[in-house]
């Protein structure tokens, strides 16, 4: 037991933020955002207003105000984070606050469920990740306090069967019976939020907390234990989000992103915590949630109306955080909690594909931002989510409007004598103001990168972890060039997604291609051909008609013109590894990988499955479920108890069986295959049918 004096001392130090504290921090933050925006706006107005404001200039001003304010929010968040890290940790961080109630050593640790919702993922990677997390937890000595749930929404029949086998293999390898669970939902109603709701309503009562992971999440055991400890110390907190650091990718694109997220991300998350405090947000994974308030307040309704703005809530995480806040619970971002990792898309095209999935969900939040009852900061979170995609079409519109305005200016002849003036009236030059506006905007965009670099000077260990100061500096410079080149490409992608969604073309739910792979010319040309063409046309037009504008426009044109080679080259793993050898884009996780990441790598490289069936090469797990007696028995044993199918359903299944028998498995769609193996009777019948045909052939 801790001595009394220790307890009192720890109570004296950091404290909970008071209402005044919350208000003060936000006042500082929003005043800075507003002031900077107003100054930049003032400069722009001074340029435009001399001859009165034309409609085009008004549009430009409106767009600039929105976009610059958006940049300001980001800049001041980073600046606050810089400040916090420079002068030590935030005294109001959730990890530093004194306990709300004195911890009672006699109380048994609560049981926590670690949830991994999956959907047609690479099973080998998913289960290797879980194994690494399990191993890491085991080293803390607190493995018994945690249960693992693989919550599968997988629809692909081959992946479904593979998951079952991998789960069995994991249970056997880790002696995890009664600790590692698996279920596949018959219907994936409401997607991921429905998947989690299904867990909560069926087993949530047995746990106090759930830690939600993503299919590519990796978390250190110590971090998981610490998250539970923090929740125990602060019963007023319903959710603690950790900042997931991207790791494990080798392509150049992903390594640049990993470096940027790691170096700049820690500053941004510290800044977010600075002004959001207990009204933070939920990012959907690598977070711990108190189950009872989640059950009480996070049952998501369907929004009235059709997609894209109506129907199921797609990006559920923001909404769940807002609902918890609405009910009076606190939501924190534990920016200083390390050991939380995720993997990012390996190529520019995959990155855009992920954006496409997220875009519709975020735009849907526009309706929620003005709904009744939500806290002001929750509304801001919704709007920030919307802006993260809406900013792209706005930037595009801004660029087009600037080009048109420049063209209009070139068409106007200067008049030096007018009215009763006998002296010539020389045109006023606004070069100073315009340069100031441009410089302010560029500073806001690029200064955070410099600040992040400066923070490395503070700590030698960190400096070395990022490849030393020269390596880190060069990496920041190259990353800046790369982000300038890819920004217009992403702008066009996101604009396309936003327009498609607004035109009610619903976005599907395609699974991500998470593993490293290279972009070929055909794929790159398909994805970026239109963008390149647009760049060439825009460049030619601006060069011919507004040559002065052309040179300002070159960074955007270069990005579009080089989209295909940049996309292809950046997907290269060889270039990624080459950069690593040159000490470029290094992250602490690459310089000195934590044990949990080393374990993951080891399990992916060397681990021999315990189950013999997993060691056999097979082209189709679906066929294995029909033929192999063990796979068939395991799959049947994992099917949920259901009423036998009705007459019409039986008739339908009969038709599929006949199709399989007559035309072979390739004639069936994945959905039809799934339906066949989802019915135990049909599964048994097909198993017997295969063995009755050519048993010797089948057995070999």
């Amino acid at each position: 037991m801790k001595p009394d004096f220790f307890w009192k001392k720890s109570m004296m130090q950091p404290s909970q933020p008071s209402t005044l504290g919350y208000t003060l921090r936000r006042m500082v933050f929003f005043t800075l955002v507003a002031l900077t925006s107003l100054i930049a706006l003032g400069l722009m107005v001074s340029v435009f207003q001399t001859n009165g404001l034309s409609p085009m200039e008004l549009l430009l001003l409106a767009l600039y105000t929105i976009l610059f304010s958006w940049i300001c929010v980001s800049f001041w968040t980073a600046f606050m984070g810089f400040w916090v890290i420079l002068f030590g940790r935030d005294r109001w961080a959730i990890s530093r606050q004194p306990p709300d109630t004195a911890p009672d050593p006699a109380v048994v640790s609560p049981r926590t469920a670690i949830l991994m919702p999956i959907y047609n993922e690479d099973s080998e990677r998913v289960f290797a990740g879980l194994r690494a997390i399990h191993q890491s937890l085991a080293t803390t000595g607190q493995l018994d306090d945690f249960h693992f749930f693989i919550l599968s929404d997988t629809r692909d029949p081959d992946v479904w069967v593979e998951e079952e086998l991998r789960w069995q293999d994991l249970v056997r390898a880790l002696d995890g019976k009664g600790r590692i669970f698996y279920r596949n939902r018959p219907e994936n109603t409401s997607r991921k939020s429905g998947n989690l709701e299904d867990f909560c309503t069926r087993w949530g009562n047995q746990y106090r907390y759930m830690i939600v992971l993503d299919a590519d999440s990796i978390m250190q055991g110590e971090t998981l234990v610490e998250m539970v400890r923090l929740m125990e110390l602060h019963p007023r907190v319903a959710l603690i989000q950790t900042p997931p650091v991207p790791v494990n990718r080798t392509s150049l694109f992903a390594r640049i992103l990993q470096f940027a997220s790691s170096l700049y991300g820690r500053m941004f998350t510290a800044g977010l915590n600075y002004w959001q405090l207990g009204e933070s947000n939920y990012w959907g994974h690598n977070a711990i949630i108190r189950i009872q308030p989640f059950l009480d307040h996070c049952g998501l309704p369907k929004l009235p109306g059709r997609e894209p703005f109506g129907g199921e809530i797609l990006s559920h995480d923001f909404v769940e955080a807002a609902l918890l806040r609405r009910a009076g619970w606190e939501v924190w971002l534990a920016y200083d909690l390390e050991g939380s990792y995720e993997e990012i898309p390996p190529t520019l095209i995959d990155y855009a594909k992920r954006d496409r999935r997220w875009c519709q969900g975020n735009l849907q939040h526009l309706r929620l931002a003005f709904s009744r009852g939500f806290n002001a900061l929750s509304r801001l979170h919704f709007l920030m989510g919307v802006m993260s995609y809406a900013a792209s079409p706005l930037w595009l519109l801004f660029l087009i409007a600037t080009g048109v305005e420049a063209f209009i200016q070139t068409q106007q002849e200067q008049v030096y004598f007018f009215g009763e003036n006998w002296m010539p009236v020389w045109p006023v030059s606004f070069a100073v103001e315009m340069t100031t506006v441009l410089l302010v905007t560029l500073t806001m965009l690029f200064l955070p990168k410099l600040l992040a670099l400066l923070l490395l000077l503070k700590e030698r260990r960190l400096r070395q972890a990022y490849g030393g100061m020269p390596g880190a500096t060069l990496s920041v410079m190259l990353e800046t060039v790369f982000s300038v080149l890819t920004a217009p490409v992403l702008m066009l992608f996101q604009t396309k997604f936003v327009l498609a969604i607004l035109m009610r073309k619903a976005v599907g739910w395609p699974p991500q291609q998470r593993g490293d792979h290279q972009t070929g010319f055909a794929e790159a040309a398909m994805a970026h051909g239109g963008q390149t063409l647009l760049g060439v046309v825009a460049g030619t037009l601006s060069y011919l008609y507004v040559p002065a504008f052309f040179w300002w426009f070159t960074p955007v044109l270069l990005g579009l013109g080089l989209a295909i080679p940049v996309s292809m080259l950046s997907s290269s793993m060889a270039l990624g590894r080459g950069a690593q050898r040159l000490n470029l884009f290094m992250t602490p996780e690459e310089t000195e990988p934590p044990m949990v990441l080393r374990d993951l790598d080891r399990y992916l490289q060397d681990s021999e499955p315990t189950l013999p069936v997993l060691r056999q090469a097979t082209s189709s797990r679906f066929m294995q479920a029909l033929i192999d007696p063990y796979v068939n028995a395991l799959h049947r044993s994992l099917l949920p108890e259901r009423e036998p199918p009705g007459k019409r359903r039986r008739h339908y299944l009969e038709g599929l069986v006949q199709q399989l028998e007559e035309d072979g498995p390739d004639s069936l769609s994945p959905q039809q295959k799934r339906e066949l193996i989802a019915d135990p009777e049909t599964l048994l019948r097909l198993h017997a049918w295969f063995w009755s045909r050519t048993p010797n052939l089948v057995s070999t």
Binding site: E197, S637, S692
Partner: protein
């Protein structure tokens, strides 16, 4: 000792017997004589045996039922039941490779192996403990909001 009674198969059922033998061996029965005996016992469960694909399929299902009967008896499980299906999966998972000899051996001789089998039976999910999760009400923005707000502010009542 094998507890099965051997019998001659009916004339014309040799191909069926061969199919069954191959199936029992695929299940993990490595002893040829035991595989044959089990095949014959399976055949006896079929009332009529025309030599066609359908009867062969029925024979395969009957083999599975025979296995389930033995398994249910050995582990004292109800049949049919999810527990029995899980037990069959565990049995075929190679967790207890010597299962053919223990399943058809006297109960006392099989005890330790049956324990290992019980341990190998998968537990995919814990027992459910249902909890309600009420759907929340989200009142979306409507142009009536500001009007209602002004109405309240002015103290105008719509109640008659």
């Amino acid at each position: 000792m094998n507890t099965l009674r051997y019998s001659l198969s009916a004339p014309g059922s040799e191909p069926l017997l061969e199919d069954l033998k191959a199936y029992w061996m695929a299940l993990g029965v490595t002893d040829l004589s035991l595989a044959l005996a089990l095949s014959e016992q399976t055949l006896r469960r079929l009332p009529d045996r025309p030599d066609d694909e359908e009867s062969s399929a029925r024979a395969i299902i009957a083999a599975g039922e025979l296995l389930d009967d033995r398994l249910a008896a050995a582990l004292d499980l109800p049949r049919p039941s999810p527990a029995l299906r899980a037990a069959r999966a565990a049995l075929l998972s190679s967790a207890v490779p010597e299962w053919p000899s223990i399943l058809f051996a006297p109960p006392s001789a099989a005890k330790p192996a049956l324990e290992r089998l019980r341990v190998a039976i998968a537990e995919p999910t814990p027992a459910p403990n249902p909890a309600p999760m009420p759907t929340q009400r989200i009142e979306l923005f409507s142009l009536w909001f500001p009007l209602r707000w002004m109405q309240r502010l002015l103290g105008v009542s719509t109640a008659r």
